[in-house]
Symmetry: none
Subunit: 143 residues, 4 copies
């Protein structure tokens, strides 16, 4: 596979939402971005709050920005806050540096996109993202 298909993106979302339902998570919002950082598919469950698209895509965008899962951004923000502030500034303010943004790689390891999830704890958001990527037969990178 060389590109993220819509079919794969939809599979990721549906499996992530199923994971959230199984684990009794709060309403989730799931954004899937392609390798260029452009939105491919998105769903926001009923009851999710207003700015959840921006938060979900902000996790995925941040992961793509540096080629690491957003858990790495979270750690970096604690250790070097000025780097994260600069990264966010040059991104045009598009990054939310907390866990829940997970890179999507194909079976050869090629980066093909990222998924960002928000709604429950950041750790649970990340678990749902990983479940989604696995369901699509792809590889995940959370940190």
């Amino acid at each position: 596979m060389t590109d993220l298909t819509l079919a794969a993106a939809n599979t990721i979302i549906m499996a992530a939402l199923a994971k959230g339902a199984d684990a009794r998570m709060k309403p989730l919002t799931v954004a899937v971005l392609d390798a260029g950082g452009h939105l491919k598919a998105f769903q926001k469950q009923d009851g999710a709050s207003m700015l959840r698209y921006e938060i979900a895509s902000g996790k995925a965008y941040g992961a793509l920005a540096v080629g690491m899962g957003s858990r790495w951004l979270d750690q970096t923000a604690k250790e070097r806050p000025h780097f994260m502030e600069g990264l966010n500034a040059v991104s045009g303010g598009r990054i939310v540096p907390v866990p829940g943004g997970v890179l999507i790689r194909d079976q050869t390891g090629k980066l093909i996109g990222a998924v960002g999830i928000t709604g429950d704890t950041s750790d649970n958001d990340e678990l749902a993202a990983i479940a989604g990527i696995e369901a699509a037969g792809l590889r995940h990178q959370a940190a």
Copy 2:
């Protein structure tokens, strides 16, 4: 119904994409926004170009901005370009004033969101949007 549900939004997208396939349209991108202009669901077909999220949501956002389908914006842009430029400016540059942004109303006529489609001709984009809204048992307003 008082709010746009995720189930309805997904139905709109699937029916719009089916309409596009039936009519042999080019790859479509479909954004569904709630009444407050926030993204509820989104899908971009394989082969669609880079900025299609921004275009699709820009049609829907523009429709919600003035409470008219984006076909009205298209006509207004021709008659009063300075109004449309001003509207786009105060929106923060979020409006694409061409057909394909269609308001979604419930059966009582209450505004509950908007769908924006891009990929084929603006007229065809609008037809796909209407087909999607009808499939969800909701009312459409294209102008």
Copy 3:
């Protein structure tokens, strides 16, 4: 009087809405800005569409920007569109150059603010603004 009081701003809004009701106008949105372009009071009637705050304040802000009612901006946009585009650009995209933005002057002629109205035709919006300013015992300048 040297400054626009909240009492005067509220009187302007209530009288403008009363004018709209008398003339059977569509739902109106009324923004009153002080001489520094900062919001003093605001009301948006039920049924008004999403971006009406931005439009109403954009008319009033544009009027204050050049010290003329927004009817002057409308005329200027037709005659010298590049000037209006430049003005909007340097304002940070805060101007809607159509009638309905009216300067507020005290009885000595001193500029103390502006009111912007949107919802009906631009001409009617302007009539409601003038009615509001007159009800507060102040002077208006629409062009």
Copy 4:
């Protein structure tokens, strides 16, 4: 009630200002936003400083963004500053994460908007917001 009415928004503002007067608070600024984050009604008392619209609406917008009162944002900003910075970034710089932004729910618990108040201490701003919401017969959520 399914939507925030102008009548309810005006009641909230008048009662909040009355609370401020009773408690001898400094001049207050009150912004009421609908559930989509769009301004419904606003008043700024005489003597309030220049950027009070932005502060008041920034508290209310932040509350709506995450579906929690802005007191929660204040606590989160202390515990996870990089999350709050990221949230503010993806909001386009529209959030002021301190107490005084309170969610408005109807009697069924449905979220219908938020009120943001600034001018006195953040704790007092919040008290005035709660008093306003109670006067309108609605439910409040401050954290």
